[in-house]
Amino acid sequence: MHIPDGYLGPYTYVAMWIIMIPIWYYAASRLGRELRSKQVPLLALAAAFSFVIMMFNVPIPGGSTGHAVGGAIVGIVLGPWAAVIAISVALVLQALMFGDGGITAIAANCFNMAVIMPFAAFYVYKFISGSTDIMSSRRVAASAVAGYVSLSLAAACTGLMFGLQPLLHSSPEGIPLYMPYGLNIALPAMLLEHLLGFSILEALVTALIFAYIQRTDTSLLYEESRGSRKIREKKAIAA
């Protein structure tokens, strides 16, 4: 899912930078307002985890390889805005140091994996969890579905960006200048390999880590930490 340099033409990659710069700015300013020092190790751990989990390439039938992103569990645990920062740090390092994902495509890759994923995962998880108890097994299932849906959405968005290139950038003779495959090929290719393969892996990774945190320390979860803060604030006002 890491789009390399040369696959997106300037219309797309410049547009993605224009979209991502305010998102990064807002995410960073929220982090500056909300981050407490107790949460710092978790933020650091989340970025490192996302970096490492993406190195586990797995094959799927059909000769393709890919990986989970970890964006779903990071979104659920840290909350979506902090997740934007954590996953973006991993993706920028992958591009600069390891050539995994292009330099021009950093913003596009961050949009797909560091914005779409944690936001989709967080809200799918919240929607399915509803008002169930924090220890409810329904929340584990919710995290699995969140992992599955969020990576599939990110893959669809990547396929969309790929598939638009022949429409946006072709020579007058009709020769594609960047990604040569259009929507009819790129979108189903990206979507199917994730729906049938990598998204299942993301679902498993998400549920496994969620269940572990749920059983050991729910105070790490974004919703819980915010909830307890609200209660503390109420108590402070009452006192």
Partner: protein
């Protein structure tokens, strides 16, 4: 031991096992090099060709350039890459995080 420490140990275990990710052979859709694109299409789209060499990463594809043949070296380079990733990602966010945290 608190949960974050245990999660961190879990991460270190993952780092040691990263070379398993090298066993998956095959291509990834949309991540072909220019030569692979040429094999598929018979030509390389001109924009793709010129942009693809824009950046030379120090450890391209989590490997040491020129030492890709040995599986042992590749596995060691892969683990080293994971360690670099963990140290920079976690280190950067830890230091910046501690600086900006509100309490």
């Amino acid at each position: 031991m608190d949960t974050i420490k245990k999660l961190f140990i879990g991460l270190l275990v993952l780092v040691v096992f990263t070379p398993l990710g090298l066993l998956a052979v095959g291509e990834t859709f949309g991540e072909w090099g220019p030569e692979e694109v040429k094999d598929k299409l018979g030509f390389v789209p001109p924009g793709l060709e010129s942009l693809s060499s824009l950046w030379s990463a120090p450890l391209p594809d989590y490997a040491i350039p020129g030492a890709e043949d040995s599986m042992t070296v590749a596995a060691a380079a892969y683990i080293l890459s994971a360690v670099i990733g963990v140290v920079i990602c976690a280190g950067l966010l830890y230091l910046v995080g501690k600086r900006i945290a509100r309490d």
